[in-house]
């Protein structure tokens, strides 16, 4: 087995520091961070852009709710590598394939939480809104969605963390974010990039989670008032 003294360690700091800055040819923590964030943000935002309208429609039609949950549930059950195998012949080894797959996996969690949120709005509040003469659309925008916000954000949190953990698999189709470090770890049985890839991915997930918690607090001040904080 080809061995190297420093290269065989779990955390060869010199190597880590050499691979922070951006580079078109070498592994770069900064480049991977950007790619990882872009893939995550795009797939979660697009996912919610699909899920929320579906939730609004399904909320009013129980039969539609069953269908939507069933379809999104089916997609969620398909193993990710299989889903990418279906996509690659059609959309190639591209970012598009990665995004389609990642977005598809978010749909179930997002729509389920959106539905929970909408269902949690008390009927008397809705009656009050109707009594005020608010139309359906205004009621949705100014009453239902704001009240459903905690559940919606909970869904965003779970989706975001799960997506960050799923992005590395897209390294198998040419994308990857921090998955590229993991792939290098596999290719050369090289410990340090593997550790960097896993650690950065986990840290990013936790940071994103905290950021969303903070965003939720900022956007729902009435929730804290109600709890008397």
């Amino acid at each position: 087995m080809v061995l190297a003294a420093a290269g065989d360690g779990w955390l060869w700091w010199d190597w880590v520091f050499r691979h922070i800055e951006s580079s078109p040819v070498s592994l770069s923590i900064l480049d991977s961070l950007r790619e990882h964030v872009v893939l995550t943000v795009l797939s979660v935002v697009i996912g919610q852009a699909i899920a929320l309208p579906m939730a609004v429609m399904a909320h009013r039609a129980p039969r539609l709710e069953t269908t939507v949950l069933g379809v999104f549930g089916l997609i969620y059950t398909v193993p990710s590598l299989a889903l990418f195998a279906f996509l690659v012949p059609v959309t190639g080894l591209s970012r598009t394939s990665a995004l389609i797959g990642l977005t598809a996996y978010n749909l179930l969690v997002l729509v389920r939480n959106d539905l929970t949120g909408l269902a949690g709005v008390a009927p008397d509040v809705l009656d009050a809104a109707d009594g005020l003469g608010l139309g359906r659309a205004r009621r949705l925008a100014t009453v239902e969605l704001p009240l459903a916000l905690p559940a919606i954000v909970a869904g965003l949190r779970v989706a975001t963390v799960s997506t960050v953990a799923l992005v590395p698999i897209t390294a198998l189709i040419g994308q990857g974010g921090f998955g590229q470090f993991i792939a290098r770890g596999l290719q050369d049985l090289f410990k340090t990039p593997l550790v960097v890839g896993i650690a950065c991915s986990i840290v990013l997930a936790l940071v994103a989670d905290l950021a969303l918690v903070a965003a939720e607090r900022a956007v729902t001040p009435w929730a804290r008032v109600r709890e008397g904080r």
Binding site: V2, S26, E35, V45, L186, D188
Partner: protein
């Protein structure tokens, strides 16, 4: 504005802001040409290929070309179509396997000059130009552990018939190539061979592990691997029926980018590469874990390319 309304607006603004940031921050998959001809260099998914790509690229850059990279694309089944379709413009190839890829019926090894001539002709039909072949070669080899070679008396590939059953470890593409598994069955007539896929590991540490851990008897490695040196753990089996081709390094370039000046630079690099230097490069990247980019830069400086 009610506080709830204001919060909704903030939330929407947050989403729009994030989307915009994501869209702006996102890089594009392909480099856009700034004005002059941009040469996009691709490589296979093993370190030596990435090093070679950056050596050719660095030399071209020193000569004034605008160079970009798409390294580690995959195996030839991916890279071949990529250069034919124009996704990449240049790739450092290996004569023998490239010829076998262009002509699936090419089953026996040809002398180098003939192989190069044939490759040139076949490549021309695909609007590709090949440069001069380097003396540096990296061909597919079949290797076994020293212990197995000694205990069963294996020195050449035909000796594999001495074993009751042989498992060949190699990357996925090995299963369907004449220069790999298929050739063992046809050219060598070995009927006792089964295949163990190492997925994307092309002659790398995982393939070697299958040999040292006894999961396979024979592994598809590369001739320029530092582990095959005399003090190494593995022994190369001689290709006595010449089913492998000479693996000389040869740059392949899209004809519409192949100016005389460019080809001259490529030939200069190919002339500077030798077997010893290739081995040295691999030692740096595989043993010392240097980055291919750094090793390539050192090589360019040392050879004044």
């Amino acid at each position: 504005m009610s506080s709830r309304h204001r919060s909704m607006t903030w939330f929407c603004a947050l989403i729009v802001l994030t989307l915009t940031a994501a869209a702006c921050g996102g890089g594009s998959d392909t480099e856009k040409a700034a004005g002059g001809t941009k040469i996009l260099i691709g490589s296979f998914r093993f370190t030596e290929s990435e090093t070679l790509a950056q050596i050719y690229g660095g030399a071209l850059k020193n000569a004034g070309a605008d160079v970009g990279y798409r390294l580690g694309l995959g195996n030839r089944e991916v890279v071949g179509p990529a250069i034919e379709s124009g996704e990449i413009d240049l790739v450092p190839e290996y004569v023998g396997n490239y010829l076998a890829f262009l002509d699936k019926n090419q089953t026996n090894g040809l002398p180098l000059a003939e192989a190069v001539a044939k490759t040139k002709a076949l490549a021309k039909a695909k609007r590709l130009t090949v440069g001069a072949a380097s003396s540096a070669a990296d061909g597919d080899v079949l290797a076994v552990t020293k212990e197995l070679a000694n205990s069963k008396g294996l020195t050449k590939i035909s000796d594999l018939s001495k074993l009751d059953s042989v498992t060949l470890a190699g990357p996925t593409e090995c299963e369907t190539r004449q220069t790999c598994l298929l050739g063992l069955k046809t050219t060598y007539g070995l009927s006792n061979v089964t295949f163990l896929s190492t997925a994307d590991d092309a002659g790398g540490p995982i393939t070697k592990k299958t040999l040292t851990e006894g999961k396979a008897q024979v592994g598809r490695l590369f001739s320029s691997d530092p582990d095959l040196a005399k003090a190494g753990k593995f022994v190369v089996l001689e290709d006595d029926k010449s089913y492998q081709q000479a693996g000389n390094v040869i740059p392949v370039l899209r004809t519409d980018k192949a100016t005389e000046a460019l080809v001259k630079v490529l030939d200069k690099v190919s002339a500077a590469l030798t077997n010893e230097k290739l081995l040295e490069l691999n030692k740096k990247t595989d043993v010392d874990k240097e980055d291919p980019a750094a090793a390539a830069a050192e090589f360019i400086r040392a050879n004044k390319l």
